[in-house]
């Protein structure tokens, strides 16, 4: 994450357009992949240090594939709000504990104070504030998770679901006309060192 030299703003803006708050906590940055144009707000925590320790491929016939140490991969136009926490899920694998990667698609919004330990999150996903996404949850594309939802571990949420509650349940369907609302391009422009006003 090379900063594009001063002026010292609140955000570090990378060459690929990521805007990372100086006050965000990124641990193990070498294991965190950002797709570009992603916003990480102050006090967000990303645990790239919780990297996978057991590789299924390493067991079978020598080190054929180079080990991929990505702990968290984040697509384009994602928005990580204040105080949210991304943490790779972990479990026992053949008797030993290991973390597994957390993968996120494009246009994923994570609300303030939410904790995410999913195995995968698709594209065009909105996670409201104060939510908990349990370990190894799988969230497909075009999903809206309302504020304060607790998604239990291992839950699969299919596309076009509106989810709420503790534990989470599908309470509705994203209507056909609601797809565009997941776009985060405009939101991206409203933060950073030169924020633009929100368009009408």
């Amino acid at each position: 994450m090379s900063s594009r030299r001063p002026p010292r703003g609140e955000y570090i803006e990378t060459d690929t357009g990521n805007k990372v708050a100086r006050k965000a906590t990124l641990v193990g940055t070498q294991n965190i992949m950002l797709g570009g144009k992603t916003v990480i707000q102050p006090d967000a925590i990303i645990r790239g240090d919780l990297v996978r320790t057991i590789h299924p491929s390493s067991q079978s016939g020598g080190n054929a594939a180079p080990q991929n140490n990505t702990a968290i991969s984040i697509g384009r136009y994602c928005f990580l709000s204040r105080n949210c926490c991304l943490r790779p899920p972990g479990r026992l694998y053949k008797g030993a504990f290991t973390y597994m990667p957390l993968r996120m698609g494009d246009h994923v919004f994570i609300g303030a104070g939410s904790v995410v330990q999913a195995a995968s999150i698709g594209s065009h996903v909105h996670i409201g504030a104060g939510s908990v996404i349990g370990e190894f949850a799988i969230i497909k594309d075009y999903v809206r998770i309302l504020d304060g939802t607790v998604v239990p571990p291992n839950m699969v949420i299919p596309s076009f679901s509106i989810v709420a509650g503790q534990p989470a349940r599908v309470i509705g369907e994203v209507p056909e006309g609601g797809h565009e609302a997941f776009e985060l391009r405009d939101l991206y422009k409203t933060v950073g060192n030169n924020p633009q006003p929100a368009p009408h």
């Binding site: 239990p152 571990p153 299919p158 534990p167 056909e176 609302a181």
Partner: protein
């Protein structure tokens, strides 16, 4: 009222407009014109709550040029799939297997969380619960289903499995407590098997579950129908009423079994009555009305041991257990709930039957073949409160939102900014109409400062970006209103509140101001108290959009020639919407 109020705009689908349907049946094809106060739309009318939708929920029929809502479209199922394993279920399976996933997808009967397959041997340790895949399922069986949210496990109801796959099939053979049962198929085979010939089938009606009882009854009645002497056999009491006559029975049977097998002429000709089932083997099930066991259990376990209404409703129809007679009131009689299947559906216009929405059939794709949403045809309306300091005299220092969501002061003018964004590639003319006072018990005064204006076309963003600077400058000046006023309403410079002037204009949007004077919510003595949400200030507003479009010729292939493109037709669309502005402060 602790939570802040978010302003909203809902649009009324024409399908609920009685005047429109009347007119349509009368034969004249005119569009409805919501003009004047003679039938001003009342958003508080009980009927209204069924016809108002946020813009995202509305579709648009290009052939009828009309809005369509979830209530009036006709849906057709494209694909059935399990929301948990995301496997498609062929519709032929649905008839035989039912509408639930028969792989290993279960929900917790207590909290509806997902159930994971875990080994019974290892203690349910929260970290282990996050081990869904088979390679990680450690060791050998037996296995149980465990909730990853509330830690309920199927061993609590005495159910565990030998294998970690095919849970659905294994569960079908297990009763709560772990006793096995015969499936209908096994029962049938056993009946044929000579080694079981001698033994009578279980006669205890407690053993007779729904599936077995139905199978027995069906066999019994089919035997009766085939037996030519059935008429002599017994109870002719109700025969004349047709209640137990073979004809009515065969009709009912064909309804519930789906086959037309029972329609033979012989049976129809026979009008005599048949006897009824007399023992469990024939499908007779005596209701067990003795609830002393349940009462004793309630005494010992208390209310905590009982299942809630929601939990009981969440249960899948349980064909495995003997019929309830009130026994399924306890937590230990709940069973894992197989996931209900979900569907992908296409939608048709109810009037012209054209498809207006069609998703791709594959479960994992989110693309649509057809998706005609209202948002790409009619302007969106966003609502924001404006803080206007100063009275009308001092040029009003503009901009800056008021405290969003704060209650509105009664009898004190408040200003709201309505932004209309044009999604189409033509300039539209918008005409607004709102009753002077809101309908309902508390009449607030409403003034639309600029009820008529034009919104520029939704030109390509790139066109905009590529315009040379001079042009852009001119454009911006025009928008700021420094030069000639354009279009419908003139532009008011420096955001001043002036009747007939728009507030602000952008590429394809226009903002106008609405002034409201909220009513006082004071109640006279003897008035009924405020109803729920009666303090919300909602204003009905009619919107008429007019534009010129290229002739709706069906000559899709032929590129329109120059002269042809001149041929443009006027289009218009009118509808009611309701704007929720805020809650009025109660004194």
């Amino acid at each position: 009222m602790a939570t802040a109020f978010t302003p909203y705009s809902y649009i009324q689908c024409p399908c609920s407009d009685i005047t429109l349907t009347d007119r349509r049946s009368g034969g004249s094809p005119t569009t409805s014109e919501p003009d004047g106060d003679d039938h001003a739309f009342d958003p508080r009318a009980p009927r209204s709550s069924f016809s108002l939708y946020p813009l995202e929920y509305l579709m648009y029929c290009e052939d009828c040029h009309q809005i369509r809502c979830p209530r009036c479209v006709a849906e057709e199922i494209v694909t059935y799939y399990c929301p948990n394993c995301l496997f498609e279920v062929p519709s032929s399976n649905l008839k035989s297997e039912g509408n639930r996933c028969n792989r290993s997808c279960f929900q917790c009967p207590v909290c509806i969380g997902p159930l994971a397959i875990t080994s019974v041997e290892t203690k349910p340790d929260p970290n282990l619960l996050a081990a869904p895949d088979n390679s990680a399922t450690p060791l050998a069986g037996p296995y149980a289903l465990t909730c990853s949210y509330c830690l309920w496990t199927s061993t609590e109801v005495g159910i565990q499995f030998d294998k970690h796959n095919g849970i659905h099939a294994q569960l079908a053979k297990l009763r709560n407590g772990g006793t096995t049962r015969l499936t209908a198929k096994e029962r049938k085979e056993r009946r044929k098997d000579p080694s079981y010939k001698g033994q009578p089938p279980p006669t205890d009606s407690q053993d007779l579950d729904h599936e077995a009882q139905f199978a027995n009854l069906k066999a019994f009645y089919q035997g009766q129908l085939a037996d030519p002497n059935a008429a002599d056999a017994g109870l002719a009491l109700l025969g004349d009423l047709g209640f137990s006559s073979p004809t009515s029975l065969s009709r009912i049977m064909s309804i519930y079994t789906g086959g037309g097998l029972l329609h033979d002429k012989k049976a129809k000709a026979r009008l005599g009555a048949m006897r009824e089932a007399l023992d469990p083997d024939e499908g007779l099930l005596v209701a067990s009305l003795d609830e002393s066991a349940a009462i004793a259990k309630l005494r010992s376990e208390g209310l905590d041991g009982t299942a809630s209404a929601a939990q009981r409703l969440g249960q899948a129809p349980n064909l495995v257990e003997p019929p309830l007679h009130g026994r399924e009131r306890f937590l230990d009689s709940l069973r894992p709930v197989p996931h209900l299947l979900r569907t992908k559906r296409s939608k048709r216009c109810p009037v012209c039957r054209h498809i207006i929405s069609k998703p791709e059939s594959k479960v994992q794709t989110t693309r649509f073949r057809i998706r005609l949403v209202a948002g790409s045809y009619i302007p969106s309306i966003s609502v924001r409160q404006l803080a206007l300091s100063g009275g009308t005299g001092t040029g009003t220092s503009a901009s800056g939102a008021a405290v969003p969501g704060a209650p509105l002061e009664p009898l004190k003018p408040a200003y709201f900014l309505l932004t209309f964004k044009n999604p189409i590639f033509e300039t539209i003319k918008v005409t607004l109409g709102a009753p002077v006072t809101t309908p309902g018990r508390f009449a607030s005064r409403v003034t639309v400062i600029c009820p008529e204006f034009e919104v520029d076309a939704n030109t390509d963003v790139w066109d905009e970006a590529l315009k040379d600077n001079a042009e852009r400058d001119r454009e911006q000046r025009r928008r700021r209103g420094e030069s000639i006023s354009a279009g419908g309403g003139g532009i008011n410079s420096a955001n001043q509140l002036e009747v007939g002037k728009i507030w602000e204009r952008g590429r394809n949007w226009v903002s106008i101001v609405v002034e409201v004077v909220p009513a006082s919510l004071a109640l006279a003595p003897g008035d009924p108290p405020l109803r729920e949400d009666e303090d919300v200030l909602e204003i009905p507003m009619s919107v008429r959009v007019e534009w010129e479009a290229e002739m709706a010729g069906d000559e899709v292939g032929a590129a329109p020639s120059r002269s042809n493109s001149e041929a443009r037709e006027k289009r218009e669309l009118a509808y009611w919407c309701v704007l929720g502005l805020g809650r009025i402060r109660q004194r």
